[in-house]
């Protein structure tokens, strides 16, 4: 145990301070505890994710895709929003997860949950290996490195068509019923339940991680990379850990897509997917855990609606929304909302 005063200040200066009562000591912990507590907004949010079952049962397939993409965006938020690692190649880990689950199923093992675990493992191992490069760089170099890694991987997958099916995609995936009971139906009922449950469980893990001492260290890295070594922090070790975790989560998202759609194409590794997820996260707001979730929902519903209007030009609207959000709402949709909330609170 560390002595209260340590060897820091001489006895006199410590004695000058008002003696601390237990009550005074409880306060700082309580404050930190209160920040971690579940907010009403969060509970409402998760209840709202159940609405598609009731309100839009014909859109459950889309809802399932949104949940999967939200999970993918959550994994990007862990490295970008909490650690300042900008990635334009996050689809690499999504793709590794998708191909792992797809191949397992193609080879005759279509059990979904163990498929997820193995996909997470594969993507996590790939993430761990690449983290040794990632942890050495910052900023622009990172964008190029992550982009490069993803391009490499996509071309490898393209050329290894004996394994991946190349540009034709992976054929012959069949996902077994969950727990041997719940079949994947045409309406996406099982798919959405499954994706949403996974999103929620992984979200709980991510939420706990962010509120742990390790999560505090990640915020420290985002806030000031110069100071961290000066308080004895091995930044690169922290970055390697979170990068591996984020890669594993991206792998779970990829596996979910492969299992629920029963197809895997090269597109899972594509630049478009990496760019889209980055856009969604920025749209929703980085560093808030919910930003990726909201961003994915807004983006994908918008895409669904706009592409119904005129399919060729829907990126025009996405471009417009993106410019508007970045210019008018720095911090994304959630950043704007929280500013509104604090302004409302300040008003008497």
């Amino acid at each position: 145990m560390i002595p209260k005063s340590g060897i820091r200040f001489s006895e006199e200066i410590m004695r000058q301070q008002s003696p601390m009562t237990d009550q005074a000591l409880a306060a700082p912990r309580d404050y930190l505890q209160a920040q971690i507590r579940w907010q009403w907004g969060e509970i409402v949010f998760w209840l709202a994710t159940l609405l598609p079952f009731v309100l839009t049962p014909s859109y459950l397939v889309l809802a399932s895709q949104i949940a999967i993409t939200a999970l993918f965006a959550l994994s990007l938020d862990l490295i970008l929003g909490f650690c300042g690692i900008v990635s334009l190649g996050h689809a690499a880990y999504f793709g590794v997860g998708a191909y792992t689950a797809g191949l397992l199923s193609k080879w005759g093992f279509g059990e979904p949950l163990s498929g997820l675990v193995l996909a997470a493992l594969a993507a996590g191992i790939f993430g761990y290996l690449s983290s040794f490069i990632i942890a050495r760089f910052r900023h622009l170099a990172l964008i190029m490195l992550t982009l490069g890694l993803a391009l490499l991987l996509q071309e490898i997958a393209n050329s290894a068509s004996w394994l991946t099916g190349g540009s034709d995609g992976l054929q012959g995936i069949h996902t077994w019923p969950i727990f041997g009971r719940f079949r994947f139906d045409l309406y996406g009922y099982t798919a959405y339940t499954y994706s949403l449950a996974l999103l929620f469980v992984v979200f709980l893990v991510a939420r706990r991680l962010i509120h742990s001492p390790f999560g505090l260290a990640l915020r420290g890295i985002r806030e000031n990379t110069t100071r961290m070594p000066a308080i004895g922090a091995a930044i690169r070790g922290h970055i390697r850990t979170i990068y591996t975790i984020a890669a594993a989560i991206a792998g779970i998202a990829g596996a979910l897509l492969a299992q629920t759609t029963e197809t895997v194409s090269l597109e899972v590794l594509g630049f478009q997917r990496s760019a889209d997820v980055l856009v969604m996260l920025i749209l929703g707001g980085t560093g808030r855990l919910y930003g990726g979730l909201i961003g994915a929902a807004v983006y994908m519903i918008a895409r669904d609606q706009f592409s119904g209007l005129n399919p060729q030009f829907w990126y025009f609207w996405i471009g417009l929304i993106l410019i508007a959000v970045v210019m008018l709402l720095p911090g994304g949709i959630l950043g704007g909302l929280s500013r509104l909330a604090s302004r409302a609170k300040d008003k008497p």
């Binding site: 060897i7 390790f214 260290a217 420290g220």
Partner: protein
């Protein structure tokens, strides 16, 4: 007391043709209070960067507590008790003061390795951080984000972060830089209150402060050590006077 806590042997560093450190020798006895002075561009901050490992010397060795640490990365030097503060605030703008210091404590106790327990469960780390903030009179603002603190409070937080690592040797880079004189009392109290077990080297321009806190002074000019001596010897030294010609040396207190 005569045990050497930190020493530098023949430290050299140049950027291209610009020599910023030239054969620097120093030896700080345990518990000593050293001031490092010199005109702008003399290489004072560079020397701190070299000692703490933020810069790699071209030649020379750094020895902490008898162990050669020249090859160690900065964070491992911190773990061994060699800690610095920054002349320009290097804080965590969006973390609260309590979160910042708790983070520094957690790095020391290695609590940062766990990601499945809530931070609020780390009672000892939080209490310790709170104690440090209390010793620096920062508890009233400890739940405010760092960027909202007054400048003087941010300077105190610089020291709080360093203290959370439990330093054996503390390098203070102009701790009072930019703090208006009327707000500096708290800061000086903190520096004066540092435990005598901690060896301190501080960069300072204000000679009054140097006289108040330092037992020895090192004068750095053009990347080399010009002289070393007691504050009175330094104040009387003709070489130092020549260097500072045209600058105010401050008043030499009598007695």
């Amino acid at each position: 007391m005569s045990e050497i806590a930190l020493s530098a042997r023949g430290l050299c560093k140049s950027f291209g043709s610009l020599i910023v450190a030239s054969d620097i020798e120093l030896a700080l006895p345990a518990g000593a209070r050293y001031a490092l002075i010199g005109p702008n561009g003399a290489g004072k901050t560079t020397l701190i960067n070299l000692i703490t490992g933020m810069l790699r010397p071209d030649a020379g060795r750094i020895v902490l507590d008898g162990a050669d640490i020249t090859a160690l990365p900065p964070e491992q030097r911190v773990k061994r008790g060699l800690v610095r503060t920054f002349q320009i605030n290097a804080l965590f703008p969006h973390l609260t003061a309590l979160e910042s210091v708790t983070l520094a404590v957690c790095e020391r106790t290695r609590a940062v390795r766990t990601f499945w327990r809530k931070i609020s469960a780390y009672r000892h780390e939080i209490d310790e951080a709170y104690d440090i903030l209390a010793a620096l009179s920062l508890t009233a603002v400890c739940h405010r984000p760092t960027r909202e603190l007054a400048y003087g409070q941010q300077r105190l937080l610089e020291i709080a972060l360093a203290m959370a690592t439990q330093p054996k040797v503390l390098l203070l880079d102009e701790p009072a830089a930019g703090v208006p004189r009327e707000d500096s009392a708290e800061l000086f109290k903190a520096i004066a209150g540092l435990s005598r077990e901690i060896t301190v080297l501080f960069i300072e321009h204000d000679m009054e402060l140097v006289f108040r806190f330092a037992s020895r002074v090192i004068v750095l000019v053009g990347g080399r050590v010009l002289v070393e001596g007691t504050p009175h010897e330094i104040a009387a030294d003709p070489q130092v006077r020549a260097v500072y010609l045209g600058r105010t040396m401050g008043k030499v207190p009598h007695g």
